[in-house]
Symmetry: C2
Subunit: 345 residues, 2 copies
């Protein structure tokens, strides 16, 4: 393992250039992201940077380029594995273009979200990727510093910033449709929130409803137990309520995988077999879904693609290669069918 060093013996741009057999200018272009560099060359330079343990000093870099190469990434719920997995992809995508990511957990608090959308007042932060939960458009528009910003997720704050999201209505419709195709008819949904549904709840309920109605099925209000949040215990307690109904459901669509994993556990504790007695599906495709017993059918957003698009949009804004109107970008998703919804009915 090569040991990075600091001080007078620290590797310099020209050491990297020598090892990568490119010009110092090319290394500088890779490090600063000022000028596009061919992918193969960029990779060779990155390997040399890694091998030598070269790292530009942020303050020096900022003095030279006006940018530090640091962006902030903020999610409302870090304990949610979906956000953790997406964060890993954003960090990897940023690293590929020489950018360091610092993360913040806002807890969905609008004041915290506003602070991060303003770059925390830290001049070293070049731009922000934010998945908002409590923030509204008026608040966002009041931010103290208009630094480049990309929003992630369902919350529609109007055309105030670029936003990358998947089509939640279509995702929910597709996985509900899968349950109907498998022969399930009395289908519940866990994830509605009353009285203040988040955008996620509204869009996934719409997709669920559309699929049922499209198949000529009616939506039974008794099969929509509201939840407070989207963690395992919320899913488990909603499932326990459903299982107490005189006419219990034969399948449940949970609005995220954590709710579904809590529901799986509650079904298990009630002595039910999944999917023979009741099918359960989720949304997010966190790694745990593949390893659950039974493994969980779910909607899989392409996290790597979402991360790449978000970083690309942000860097275009930071580097002023694009300064046009806000963009809404909608990468695709897949329904991953696993054991929890495929009985031999």
């Amino acid at each position: 393992m090569s040991m990075p060093t600091e001080g007078p013996t620290a590797p310099r741009l020209k050491d990297v250039a020598e090892l990568a057999q490119v010009s110092v200018k090319t290394v500088s272009n890779v490090v600063n992201g000022t000028t596009p560099v061919a992918e193969a060359t960029r990779e060779r330079v990155q390997r040399a940077i890694d091998a030598l343990g070269y790292h530009p000093n942020l303050t020096a870099r900022r003095l030279r380029t006006g940018r530090s190469g640091v962006i902030a990434l903020a999610f409302p719920e870090l304990p949610s594995p979906y956000f953790a997995e997406l964060a890993v992809e954003v960090i990897a995508a940023a690293r590929r273009v020489g950018i360091t990511v610092l993360m913040d957990d806002t807890g969905g608090d609008p004041a915290a979200e506003l602070r991060i959308a303003s770059g925390l007042g830290d001049p070293m932060i070049d731009g922000v990727i934010l998945s908002p939960l409590g923030l509204d458009q008026a608040t966002l528009l009041s931010r103290s510093r208009e630094i480049p910003l990309v929003l992630l997720g369902e919350a529609d704050l109007g055309p105030v910033a670029d936003r990358v999201h998947i089509d939640n209505v279509a995702g929910a419709r597709a996985v509900t449709r899968h349950l109907i195709d498998e022969g399930y008819r009395r289908i519940a949904a866990i994830g509605w929130q009353d009285p203040s549904p988040r955008a996620t709840a509204e869009q996934r309920l719409t997709g669920f409803r559309t699929a049922l109605e499209g198949a000529g099925l009616t939506v039974d209000q008794a099969l929509l137990p509201p939840v407070r949040a989207y963690f395992r215990p919320d899913g488990a307690s909603a499932m326990r309520r459903l299982l107490k109904l005189p006419d219990r459901p034969d399948a449940v669509f949970c609005f995220n995988d954590l709710l579904a994993l809590g529901a799986l556990r509650a079904a298990h504790e009630a002595g039910l077999r999944v999917p023979d007695d009741i099918a359960i599906v989720g949304f997010d495709d966190v790694e745990e879904a593949e390893y659950a017993i039974p493994s969980l059918t779910t909607v899989a957003p392409d996290k790597r693609h979402i991360a790449e698009l978000a970083v690309r949009c942000l860097m275009e804004r930071i580097e002023k290669r694009y300064d046009g109107p806000s963009r809404l970008i909608t990468p695709g998703f897949r329904v991953v069918v696993r054991e929890s919804s495929t009985s031999a009915r």
Copy 2:
């Protein structure tokens, strides 16, 4: 919901003081953490800060106090729920003393760990909490900026910084001892790494070995399949290797919960019942352990306490209330017994 605002109408220190019915000086003490404030008063001020959406500008705060109130937190593996759950506790502990946390994922890369230990060259970062993986003592001593630093976890880099860790040898010994007490005799361990074991692997293997030898059992090398990393797929593939042995184990201690959850899945796919055919236990007590089917017996570090101690040590260094020698702090743990290891043998 109160909407925080910015610009000429943004709430000021004196608005917070008025609402909390305290002096401006008291609010300033809470915000800057310069002078201790009684817990009840601090809470009243914090509620007023939250209600008004007051947030001090970092640059202004730094000019005034020499500190920004921002610390960095870096883990080697953010997709690991143990680190995500610990991060949430660190963020909460920091918030209680008015500090914002920015996170970095180092991937365990020594160069990235060195950068963060030097505060990324960002003068806005007051101090760093780092869980190192690849860093060694010589590299850490070469850091370019000696900002306050607290280390988390097993890696022993010598007395160069305060460190908070749990006793991994004792934790591993206790959970292995539990398996022996339950009547298991042919006990495997998943988590050894060859040729470069991390400190975690070495300490947990020592605890495992000590428990077996203390009970007069021998350690069978065939029951120590090495793994590359500590994620679910590593646990699943090591378990598949164990299950191919002519004389397969009756219990497995996995060095973290993700390995154990992968092992559970592999046992399920092989048609084995846990714990009747084979017991499986883990280490970390991530939330998933409680919800797994069967639920997972594991070693539970007190994450909240670890986080509070780390933040307290760091703030003592930042606020220069303590500048003595490096401290080694060892909070406790519990063994949480669940379904995966308690058959009626």
